[in-house]
């Protein structure tokens, strides 16, 4: 665990070409996109993956804005908190989806709004724990915007789990998800990778010259890696799409392709921007001596 040394001053540079969007704007875009992709389980996996990507970026942004002030336990803890709430919210949402809120046409689950119940509960848990953490009478962490940050993290964690489950299982009903995602153990992979996707960007870029645009690129990159492995898992599970197994194979292949493209593009972008932002890139060299 690495502990942030000092509260990093905020030095918002002028965003170039609209990236990165402001925190609120990014949150709204990611939440809307994530919810739309979640409630439409019939969509191909790589479209859901776009939602996943944005949800993880949103989570990483929330981690960034809450842990900038120093949490006392290192950056990773808050990312794990998000997936802790997320997995609980997601199984509650999928439990509701099992009994109602879905519209099926010709055996294909087209719309499922029941899961939003789980998202709402996770938001509530996040908000309440944010109040408890910030309140003078309780944990009194005194971090500005912690309530909002924890709410966002709860929602982002839940949406990430829902999207990942629906990418692998093709549905949001809890029994089917349990049979595909939990029996294979892919849930463990989702648990840790969603957490990593949210906290690794800020943890890896921590420092006084951290730049929000650069940090968030990492989250895109990690979502690509998640998509590659989930695509492989859904091929192994023989997941169907629209009731056909050959379409399911195509669906998984497209997901892997999406993952590779996203990973290559954003990894290259991140490496380039890091090289540019470094003080100096030298092949080798000695260190300057301290007086």
């Amino acid at each position: 665990m690495t502990v942030p040394t000092a509260p990093v001053e905020e030095e918002e540079k002028k965003p170039e070409k609209g990236w990165p969007p402001t925190e609120t704007k990014l949150g709204i875009i990611a939440a809307v996109l994530g919810i739309i992709m979640t409630i439409l389980p019939f969509m191909p996996s790589f479209v859901k993956a776009i939602g996943l990507t944005f949800v993880l970026v949103w989570g990483a942004d929330s981690v960034r804005k809450t842990s900038r002030y120093g949490l006392g336990t290192g950056v990773p803890s808050i990312g794990v908190l998000a997936v802790g709430y997320g997995v609980i919210g997601a199984i509650a949402g999928m439990g509701i989806a099992k009994v109602g809120g879905d519209f099926t046409i010709g055996g294909v689950e087209v719309l499922n709004v029941g899961v939003l119940g789980g998202v709402a509960i996770a938001a509530l848990i996040g908000y309440i724990s944010g109040i408890f953490s910030n309140s003078e009478k309780f944990i009194s962490m005194k971090i500005p915007g912690l309530e909002r940050g924890m709410t966002e993290l709860g929602v982002a964690g839940t949406l990430a789990f829902l999207l990942e489950s629906s990418m692998v299982a093709g549905t949001l009903k809890l029994d089917a998800v349990l049979e595909d995602v939990f029996l294979s153990g892919a849930i463990a992979f989702m648990f840790v990778m969603s957490a990593i996707g949210m906290f690794h960007p800020f943890n890896a870029c921590l420092g006084p010259d951290e730049d929000r645009g650069r940090t968030l690129l990492l989250s895109f990159e990690i979502s690509g890696l998640i998509c590659i492995i989930l695509g492989i898992v859904s091929i192994a599970l023989g997941a169907e799409w629209l009731g056909s197994s050959s379409l399911g194979l195509l669906n998984a292949a497209l997901l892997i392709l999406y993952g590779i493209v996203v990973w290559v593009v954003f990894y290259a972008k991140f490496v380039r921007r890091s090289f540019e932002a470094s003080y100096e890139v030298v092949g080798t060299g000695l260190i300057k001596t301290v007086k």
């Binding site: 006392g72 439990g95 509701i96 349990l178 939990f182 029996l183």
Partner: protein, 254 residues
């Protein structure tokens, strides 16, 4: 799903969450400074250490849970105790070997930085402490505190696992699969849900102590009630989530 089962799940999840919180307050954790011998305790983050200990306990508890075919109060106690002992063993070995590294690898004597005299062994601490540090190593009082803390945390984790496995996601809900697969789904769902609830409570408690604590003799331990209230509320909501999931899985209705 009948209300008594729901109540049982809720109560056990709250108890598990409270025990997790109590455990976090009792294990001696020094965080990053402890790795440099600048603070008393184990050289890692609270959450990670408690989570590691509880998962070790969970592994043994899940093995022991397969010994029993039907859930019973005796089985519940034995499974939870197995988890508690597993977590306790993990923490004890870690603290002992950490001390061996401090003593033989760095040549420092384990001392507490917060008390002048060890409350259990009555050994004086201050003369042995390096100036400008907050103690180093795991002194006896912290060791015993951590022993008990890991025991309680492991008990909470294994308790949640047993209740969730047998009452929230029982294997009988998946009759169309084979017995082995049904058992595996039930265990995996309960394991991940218990881990999620446990880690959320552990993190809230870790925020309460600000990342580092020496054990029950540390002045920060007095902040415990604040964390317990927060954890009780959050655990209750998490328990509610599990009940909703289980209710949906059993086909809804009341």
């Amino acid at each position: 799903m009948d209300p008594i089962t729901a109540l049982l799940i809720l109560v056990c999840v709250i108890v598990g969450g409270l025990l997790a919180s109590l455990g976090v307050h009792m294990i001696p954790v020094g965080g990053a400074p402890a790795a440099m011998g600048t603070a008393t305790g184990i050289a890692t983050g609270t959450v990670q250490l408690m989570f590691g200990a509880a998962l070790t306990g969970l592994f043994t508890a899940s093995t022991v849970a397969t010994f029993f075919e039907t859930p019973s109060p005796l089985a519940l106690v034995l499974v939870a105790l197995s988890g508690a002992v597993g977590a306790m063993l993990m923490m004890s070995f870690t603290m002992l070997f950490a001390n061996m590294l401090y003593v033989f690898g760095a040549g420092v004597v384990p001392v507490s930085g917060r008390v002048e005299v060890d409350p259990i062994t009555k050994e004086p601490q201050t003369p042995y402490k390096t100036p400008q540090t907050d103690g180093h190593g795991v002194p006896n009082v912290s060791y015993i505190s951590g022993w008990i803390g890991a025991f309680l945390g492991g008990f909470g984790g294994a308790l949640m696992y047993f209740v969730l496995k047998n009452y929230a996601f029982p294997a009988s809900l998946f009759p169309e699969l084979g017995a082995v697969d049904a058992e595996m789904i039930s265990a995996a769902a309960a394991g991940i849900a218990a881990a999620g609830i446990f880690v959320a409570n552990a993190i809230l408690s870790a925020y309460n102590i600000g990342g580092t604590i020496e054990g029950f003799h540390d002045p920060k331990f007095k902040r415990l009630p604040k964390a317990l209230i927060s954890c009780a509320v959050v655990s209750a909501l998490c328990g509610l989530c599990v009940i909703i999931a289980s209710w949906g899985l059993m086909g809804g209705g009341v």
